[in-house]
């Protein structure tokens, strides 16, 4: 407790410097704090992440970002630990049970409320004096993923979203415009079917897949405080969003991989091999297409709009500091550095979309394809931040699939899902 208090004192001192830096003309936050605070910071900061071993991300982190930070703070050593993505959650949970967490974790945005609820995360919005400075710089949709019971437990680190990726050849051949609304997409169905293509394909019915359609139709999942789903998940608008897809599926404009065939023709393969006309997917698909289908050129536009506009779902990762961290000052300083323009741009070079909204316009010069994603991010929303999300997600998926199979009407399916979700949400309030 004593240590923690002195930690606050030091951070507060650092923060005043940071704020001063912000109010001056230069936005380079870290250089100023780094320059003056370097002498005070020392020790090792352990940082768990899930960048894969052969990835350019890990090369940039270990070859550029960490050395640059250590140069600014010669007393600090950052030890980064890559952990396979599929196992990171299990390892985090076990380490939390055994009180063996590292200082910093690059966590999937969906895990933050869950870890916060376990009480293992440092409440950044109260412990980090300059938290608001950073909160103001990032896309609101990415910040919201860190919120749990009125407190922010992390900062967004990188982001992404789903946009409409399409195979332009179909639209040229059939001489139809790229659909900008759900109605246009549905109207394109028959002509595309004529050309033996599915108008749209997706392989899941959970939140990541369905939320863009629900939000764009003007629907929602829960109230803004994430306490109740009934009246939101099963509202007329939400039902309409799903109904559009079910209608398309029944008319044969969508393939049956939506029902969960893990051996079916996957969305990206179908798009590139002239089976699917459009899919929703993220920026990581570009290098995959380039590597696997060099002859195919993927095109992108915004999620087809409905009554609620064009609203997609936020993906990406947050950076969180653990409550048990023994070197919070240095860890916090490294967080600040990871959110600096310098570090964010370095990671943008290797495919990690920055969370700083000011950097949006610069991104297209790094990668032209970022443009559609940046635009979509302006309105993109996060999945409801609640520890119950993984369960609600699974309930939604089962319910919506039963509507696709025709076992239930969309209204029935969503009514049931909403009442099950209510029970889960109630557990955490």
């Amino acid at each position: 407790m004593k240590i923690w208090k002195s930690g606050v004192a030091v951070t507060a001192a650092l923060a005043s410097l940071t704020l001063a830096a912000c109010s001056s003309s230069t936005p380079e936050v870290t250089q100023v704090t780094g320059g003056d605070g370097a002498a005070e910071l020392a020790g090792t900061v352990t940082y768990w992440h899930a960048y894969s071993a052969d990835s350019p991300e890990v090369a940039t982190l270990e070859g550029t970002i960490i050395p640059a930070f250590e140069k600014l703070h010669p007393g600090v050593t950052v030890k980064d630990v890559p952990i396979p993505y599929d196992e990171l959650h299990q390892k985090l949970i076990t380490a939390a049970a055994g009180e063996q967490l590292p200082d910093l974790v690059r966590a999937d945005i969906g895990w933050v409320p869950e870890l916060a609820n376990l009480g293992v995360l440092d409440p950044l919005s109260t412990s980090m004096p300059d938290f608001q400075t950073y909160a103001d710089q990032v896309y609101p949709g990415t910040l919201a993923t860190n919120l749990w019971k009125g407190t922010y437990y992390g900062l967004p680190l990188d982001t992404n979203t789903r946009v409409l990726l399409y195979n332009a050849s179909f639209f040229e051949q059939a001489d139809i415009a790229i659909p900008t609304t759900v109605d246009e997409l549905m109207a394109a169905g028959p002509a595309l079917k004529e050309a033996s293509a599915y108008a749209f394909a997706d392989n899941g019915a959970g939140g990541w897949n369905m939320l863009p359609w629900i939000w764009s139709a003007g629907g929602d999942i829960t109230d803004t405080d994430v306490t109740v789903a009934t009246g939101y998940l099963n509202s007329a608008e939400s039902v309409q969003g799903i109904q559009n897809l079910v209608d398309m599926y029944n008319a044969g404009y969508m393939p049956d991989i939506i029902l969960g065939d893990s051996g079916g023709l996957q969305t990206s393969d179908g798009l590139a091999t002239d089976k699917y006309a459009t899919i929703l997917d993220g920026p990581w698909m570009y290098p995959i297409f380039a590597g696997q289908y060099p002859d195919f050129t993927v095109s992108a536009s915004q999620v087809p709009a409905g009554a609620g506009g064009s609203v997609s779902v936020v993906g990406g990762e947050d950076i969180v500091m653990t409550k048990s961290s023994s070197n919070k000052d240095a860890a916090m300083e490294f967080m600040r550095y990871l959110l600096s323009e310098e570090a964010q741009l370095a990671m943008a070079e290797v495919g990690q979309m920055p969370v700083l909204s000011d950097l949006g316009p610069q991104l297209t010069s790094i990668n032209a394809y970022y443009a559609q994603f940046v635009e979509q991010l302006q309105t993109a929303k996060p999945r409801p931040p609640t520890p119950a999300w993984s369960q609600i997600d699974s309930i939604m998926q089962d319910a919506i699939r039963s509507a696709f199979r025709g076992d239930k009407t969309v209204q029935e399916a969503l009514d049931e899902a909403a009442s099950q979700a209510d029970a889960l949400l109630a557990e955490f309030n």
């Binding site: 052969d54 952990i83 995959i288 590597g291 696997q292």
Partner: protein, 279 residues
Amino acid sequence: MTRAWRKTVLYGLRYLLLGLAAFVMVYPFLFMVSTSFKSRSLALGDPTSLWPSDPTLENYIQVLGTENFARYFLNSAGVAVVSTALIVLLSSMMAYAFARLEFRGKRTLFTLIIVGLTIPTMMLIIPQFLLARDLHLLNSLPGLVPFYVGTALAFNTFLLSGFFQQIPRELDEAMMIDGAGPWRRFWDLIMPLSKPAVGTVIIFSFLGTWDEFAWALTVLNDVDNRTLPIAIALFQGQHSTSWGLVFAASLIAIVPVLIVYILFQRNFVAGLTTGALKH
């Protein structure tokens, strides 16, 4: 003449059967080999074509050039060799007692071994983690050994006791008349007669400890302490995976396991035990 001919036909039939089975068994493996020679393969290719169009060694070069790869290899080898030796020793001792000795509590202890066979170890991971923490065995390679040994003992004890039972009891009794105690019977009779069974345990234990992933990943944090399966899993990305790289690394990791297998399957030669029986 006809006898020789019949023999040839039988031989031919045997090879045909074996060849057919081998083809089915090996095909997916060949696909792995073929993919490992393809460059930048973010999706798996056509499984009916086994010859890569532009064969390249770049995956192997990249894998072997990965920082610390040799170290991970040695880490795994050390842990696997020590664990295997202990598993073989301890499980054959236990199996011998269960198969050949009478003692109070035998039934209970054997029951507890069977129970251990059926408990899914995944569910034990948190209590085991807390135990390793309290014993200061976290984040250490030697710390893996007691856990690898302890979790493998039930299986191997059960397997070996089945084999030990098959050894004719007359041999024990003959030695007992000569005044041989349990230890001598274990070392001089059961163990030499059980070379194939012990070979099986060595092969399985080495494979199991060499390949173990979930526990090693959970308890090891220092990058330098990692074992090979963790290094291989790290080649898989969140959104995409270079399969050629993963397959190349997996194939390199298979080599020691195959060497152990080839060395110890030599114990499976008919007549080996027959000779001993004649004594």
